[in-house]
Amino acid sequence: MELNNKIQISDLNVYAGKTHILKDINIDIPRNKITVILGPSGCGKTTLLKCLNRLTDLYPELNVSGKVMINDQNILDEKADIYQLRQHMGLLSQRPYPLPMTIYNNIAYALKLRGVHRKRELHKLVIDYLKQANLYDEVRNRLREPASRLSIGQQQRLCLARGLAVAPEIILADEPTSALDPISSQYIEEKFLELKNDYTIVLVTHVLRQARRIADHIIFMYLGEVIEQGEAKEVFDNPKMEKTKLYFGGTFN
């Protein structure tokens, strides 16, 4: 069982001042599968995601306690090397945030952080990752242009390529298609289905249909608590908890 789980979260609690945002979270996230964290807005799913790569460190008002084990390491440990840890994950946000550089340098920045410095290697890998995100053909002639000139769908793919460039094992996605048009969204979803073979994917969404389309594993959250978790097919066909049934039935959303 342990070997199949890439991430093991135990007793995770997050407080913002006196407000209890995440309550006693215990989750196992299986490797090489797409795990979707589902739930209505405000249930804490984005905070949960931010705990995983310790972006919560940026907000001193947040108090995080518990254990998050990845590769036999508790990433919440104070002594952990967060920079290394963060490179184990790639983050894709709701809206694409290309770095204020050229398309080429967006990827190169990530590569340099990983330790790749030699020009020829950089060049090869930049093209590789752009190809992986299926962006290369569209930008091959404008690699030295500012990334801000791309369309939103293209920017999101660029952020995907950039996230992949640090050679992570886990991909964290926070509602990655919510700002995109249907075609670009579909593109990202298809990509994720391909990527799960090599990466463990944790995707947060509040769109039920997206979860149905791509999830292998479901975690349903409500108001900071995990209500139900399990194999997608199981949870969708036979929701056990009352709240889950209500959510799927569309009663509260």
């Binding site: 001193p60 963060r86 790639g90 770095l99 952080l113 500012p146 801000s148 952020c159 964290l172």
Partner: protein, 296 residues
Amino acid sequence: MYILNRKQRHYVNYSWMIISLSLVALLPFFLFLGLYLKSFLLLHDYSLTDLIFSKEWRPSSGKFGFYPFIVGSVWVTLLAMLFTAPICLLTAIYVTQYTRKYFLRIMHPVIDILAGIPSVVYGLWGILVIVPFISRYLGPFFGIKTMGYSILAASFVLSIMIIPFILNILIEIFRAIPTELKEASLSLGATQWQTVKHVLIKKALPGIIAAFGFGLARAFGETMAVLMVVGNVIRLPKNIFDPGYTLPALIANNYGEMLSIPKYDSALMFAALILLGVSLFFNLLMHFFISKYNKY
């Protein structure tokens, strides 16, 4: 009880607005025109290059060389910017990226107070603290004998004066950068400083340059504080411990005598015209710079 009905009041208000607006909109032109007309007498008799590049200033003999004053102004301003720019940038970054929110709340009144202190008081402080410091400690440290009243003293006082101005702009710029951009960089495993260096500063760069540009324009025209510590000696300074003379100081110090010597008043008005020109030029420059870079 209204004396005028609604329609009439609207008309009155409207005229009031238009008159005021015209006054304000035409202000720069009037300023320019007024000063130009007054300096016309001077420009009529001397060429522009002569005035700007000749080094002799003896109004009673009809010699009006503005060069020493221009050089003095340039030295003082550039040196002040050299000092202020890194301090403001470093502080703005520290206060917006590295400290907790309450620290920024403390900085605001500090900046406001610094901004509110009038020029004379800065000059007074300069005389009280900076000038003796330079003549007693700093000069001798470098083996130079100096009275303390120098380009260095003026630059230092000036740099403190423009800190609140530039710092406010920089803080606003950095605060305007979306946190998600910072998060995007950090998620890639970058450290805070790497994020600042490669991502945040790049994003803020046009604004940073504009802030410095505006600060420079402001510093160039500063009168009182500089006048009190720069020494007011008409000669080309050889090093920063030498006293100097700036354009604003020239105008301020000599207005009393200007009507007694022919063309002296024209000369001083011309100096004011130069200051107006430099200030307008820089403002225009920064404006175009910002609008050009905002397209990114």
